[in-house]
């Protein structure tokens, strides 16, 4: 399992996206970083400022992010100064947050670091471009904001892990969301559609919501939308729509795997649920489970 994660992350830009706050992204980040370090020094950062102080899944204090010698970290100058690790400043980005200016730093001594990032997708894309083009860094892991996957769309050719925390109390809602994400994550990029020139393609700008369904022409074969984050329909609405047309994206994504963290749910019961809902996804169960 560990080699698979490292293989999926090395030389890629990967987002960790969660279905809710405290879905266990930071815990998974630490886990993934340890795997990657076996192969290459990783570069990691986050989106926005995480205001949470505790991890609700494990009900433990918010996990700290460990950085080791050779790692590259993007965070603010203030966090660098606060850290017990030691850093070399490699670059200062022209972006400011309430917690200081964003910098790229190389770790010279192991320690922990608080990550603060930009919430602006354009800045995020510029940071990734800088890392790739100027610093020739190619293994990038981004701790994404909870419940939002729009950042994935801002970086071309990026892949992502979708972390889902499933709790017995909210299982029905969670499983439906899981189904919807699983479905939309499989839609193709328009470039992969055969004989697209012979089909009637309708491009929908912005979000695909229930109210916009009426805008789609009856005779349209292909519905083109920016990316999967623009779909705001339920599972049944999506399947209904799929009966009459094909939904495609402008941008290609790669979903590495769902990372499922179960609470008060026995794995075998959950697997039965998956069967009932005909969900046949690539699932990585809580890597912290024995």
């Amino acid at each position: 399992m560990s080699s698979t994660i490292a293989e999926q992350l090395v030389n890629k830009t990967t987002f960790l996206v969660g279905n809710k706050k405290n879905a266990g992204k930071t815990t998974f980040l630490n886990y993934a970083l340890k795997q990657v370090r076996e192969v290459v020094s990783p570069t990691f950062f986050t989106i926005g400022i995480d205001g949470e102080t505790s991890d609700l899944i494990f009900e433990t204090p918010k996990p700290r992010v460990y950085t080791e010698i050779g790692d590259f970290v993007v965070t603010t100058d203030l966090m660098i100064n606060k850290s017990d690790a030691l850093f070399e400043i490699i670059h200062v980005f022209p972006y400011k947050t309430v917690l200081g200016r964003l910098v790229l730093a190389k770790t010279l001594r192991n320690g922990t670091i608080e990550l603060v990032g930009s919430e602006d997708n354009k800045q995020l894309a510029e940071i990734v471009d800088y890392l790739k083009d100027e610093e020739h860094i190619h293994t990038i892991i981004i701790d994404g904001a909870a419940s939002r996957a729009t950042q994935v769309a801002s970086i071309k050719n990026s892949s992502f892990y979708y972390l889902i925390k499933l709790d017995q109390r909210t299982i029905n809602a969670d499983i439906n969301k899981f189904k919807a994400i699983a479905l939309v994550s499989k839609f193709k990029c328009i470039d992969a559609i055969e004989k697209v020139e012979e089909k009637l393609v309708f491009e929908l700008k912005g979000a695909l919501t229930e109210s916009k369904l009426t805008l789609i022409p009856e005779d349209c074969d292909v519905l083109l939308i920016d990316d999967f984050t623009k779909i705001f329909l339920t599972f049944s609405q999506i399947t209904e729509l799929q009966r009459r047309l094909e939904i495609v994206y402008k941008i290609q994504y790669q979903l590495n795997s769902f990372v499922v963290i179960l609470k008060d749910i026995i794995k075998s019961d959950f697997e039965k649920l998956l069967e009932q809902h005909n969900i046949q996804e690539n699932i990585l169960y809580n890597p912290y489970a024995y």
Binding site: N30, T60, P63, D77, I89, K263, I266
Partner: protein, 533 residues
């Protein structure tokens, strides 16, 4: 100077977006849209572009390197503070590294003219301890022996801590087959936790069926951690002393560094302007005294010239010498009157913003005001009609007639009744021609305006109807796009000097070409011949 309307009228930003300074200082300068009114200042800027153009032509490889260094320079935080943190010192170091490289790459001609000289080797060496001449910065232990000793102790403790961890993980693997090397904790089914050694692992409830298990480290591990904490606090204090020491050195050269920033800004905009000058084969504008005539030889209005190039249509550059300061431009619809005004406005803005111009010759004066008066190009002002907007702008422009003013007036009063409109235009011409400081270009469809001293009349040559008729096939169903292309093909976009009595009747031909109903065309012609009932 208020140039917002003129910038919109001449679509200046289409060109300006190609002007790309690379450093943040150059970009800030660009965004100011500075217009110069000092002739000497402008001449110096043109000459400096000339030097950089020559440098780029002779040293293309070094020029690319300079551009790369300019691009690498970041915006400094304020230098007006007592102590800088590591990232601020990094920015100063990065600036010095890149400015020194630029200084090494430039030739003496450019350096002497622009007074560029790097003189901070000592400071740069001081900032480069342990880091060589890299742009990066690290608060090195070599700045302070005490800091060096402190960090060595922390590193030694880290090693010990790692060893203890490793040993404990090994023990747990051997005894319980639980691997903590990649995990801080492990979630284990409650049924499996009965035999776990309480000396080695700590258990807590995770959910109804599982426990969360963490390794327990020996007391020594926590003692060492405490020691590490103490050392970290001490390290923080020592680092602060080092930061103070470095900051003091930087502050001693604060004014010199500020000077470098000014030179970077200047050099950056000169390189960006010179790059455009080479791309578009531009020349220095010729600035003459306030009363000299404006003269254009092969003047290109780049927003249109580039569009024509893209559409593979012919673009006709402007060739004209305007002997009087009040110039009336007439001509057919789609004949290029507005483009002439735009060309003059574009070349004038370039000249006064310190660019070279895309023209074999552009001879002009320096104006204190460059005004566009015509159709409202911005959002409508509530309650103000199109005519109201023109009058408002004209009134504002007139307030500045005591200083050198360029007026670009495009089809003034076209939305009001033609009799009064013509009268106002005639009055404007009379008034403008008496003002020493006012240079005006007035495009209009009104014919037979009165003749005034110091007012010249020009017209756009218009449609080459004889050639056009040979080509035009009445039976053929042309699309609108084809019809427009036809007009463009046979339109002669040249300017010729005429008198005030010259008449242009291209409108009917153009309406015909654009497909207007034959009956209306016929009635129009009858009306003009006086045979209209």
């Amino acid at each position: 100077m208020h140039i917002k309307e003129t910038i919109k009228f001449v679509d200046f930003n289409t060109f300006y977006s190609e002007y790309t300074p690379l450093s943040p200082y150059g970009v800030i300068n660009k965004n100011k849209y500075t217009v110069f009114t000092d002739k000497v200042e402008l001449q110096n800027r043109y000459d400096s572009i000339g030097l950089v153009v020559a440098y780029i032509r002779e040293n293309s490889f070094s020029s690319d390197k300079i551009k790369n260094h300019l691009k690498r320079i970041a915006l400094l935080n304020s230098l007006e503070k007592k102590i800088f943190d590591s990232s601020e010192i990094f920015l100063v170091k990065k600036l010095l590294v890149n400015f020194r490289s630029i200084d090494k790459l430039l030739n003496e001609a450019v350096k002497n003219t622009l007074h560029i000289k790097f003189a901070s080797n000592e400071l740069l060496d001081f900032l480069s301890q342990d880091g060589g001449n890299k742009e990066t910065f690290y608060l090195s232990a070599s700045y302070c022996d005490e800091l060096s000793g402190n960090r060595k102790r922390i590193t030694a403790l880290d090693k010990e801590l790692a060893e203890i961890k490793k040993e404990r993980f090994h023990e747990i693997i051997n005894k319980h087959n639980l691997d903590f090397r990649f995990r801080d904790f492990i979630v284990v089914s409650e049924s499996m936790t009965g035999d776990l050694d309480c000396e080695l692992v700590y258990k807590e409830v995770y959910d109804k069926t599982s426990l969360l298990v963490k390794p327990i480290f020996p007391k020594k591990y926590f003692d060492l951690h405490q020691k590490r904490e103490v050392l970290l606090v001490e390290e923080g204090k020592l680092e602060k002393n080092v930061l103070q020491k470095i900051s003091k050195n930087i502050l001693e050269e604060k004014d010199v560094i500020k000077g470098y920033l000014q030179k970077i800004e200047l050099l950056d905009i000169l390189f960006a302007k010179a790059t455009l000058a080479i791309k578009y084969q531009m020349t220095k504008p010729v600035l003459i005294g306030e009363n000299g005539p404006i003269k254009v030889v092969n003047g290109q209005y780049l927003p249109l010239a580039n569009k024509c190039l893209k559409m593979e249509t012919v673009y006709t550059p402007l060739n004209a010498e305007f002997d009087n300061k009040t110039c009336v431009i007439t001509g057919s619809n789609m004949g290029g009157k507005t483009i002439l005004l735009k060309t003059i406005g574009f070349l004038q803005l370039l000249s006064q913003m310190g660019f070279w111009v895309p023209s074999k010759t552009y001879q002009t004066s320096v104006f204190e005001n460059i005004n566009y008066i015509g159709e409202d190009l911005s959002e409508k002002v509530e309650g103000l009609s199109s005519f109201g907007f023109e009058i408002h702008n004209l009134s504002n422009a007139i307030k500045n007639f005591d200083t050198n003013t360029l007026l670009l007036i495009d089809e003034f009063a076209k939305t009001t009744n033609s009799i009064e409109a013509k009268a106002i235009i005639a009055a404007m011409l009379k008034s403008f021609s008496q003002k020493e400081n006012v240079y005006s270009f007035v495009s209009t469809h009104f014919m037979e305006l009165p003749e005034f001293e110091k007012v010249s009349f020009y017209k756009m040559k218009g449609l080459n109807y004889s050639e056009y008729e040979k080509y035009y096939n009445k039976e053929k169903q042309y699309s609108l796009h084809e019809r427009i292309k036809l007009i463009n093909t046979f339109m002669q976009y040249e300017i010729i000097k005429t008198g005030n009595k010259d008449r242009t009747y291209d409108a009917i031909k153009i309406a015909d070409t654009l497909g207007l109903n034959e009956e209306i065309i016929r009635y129009t012609k009858e009306y003009l011949r006086g045979n209209y009932d």
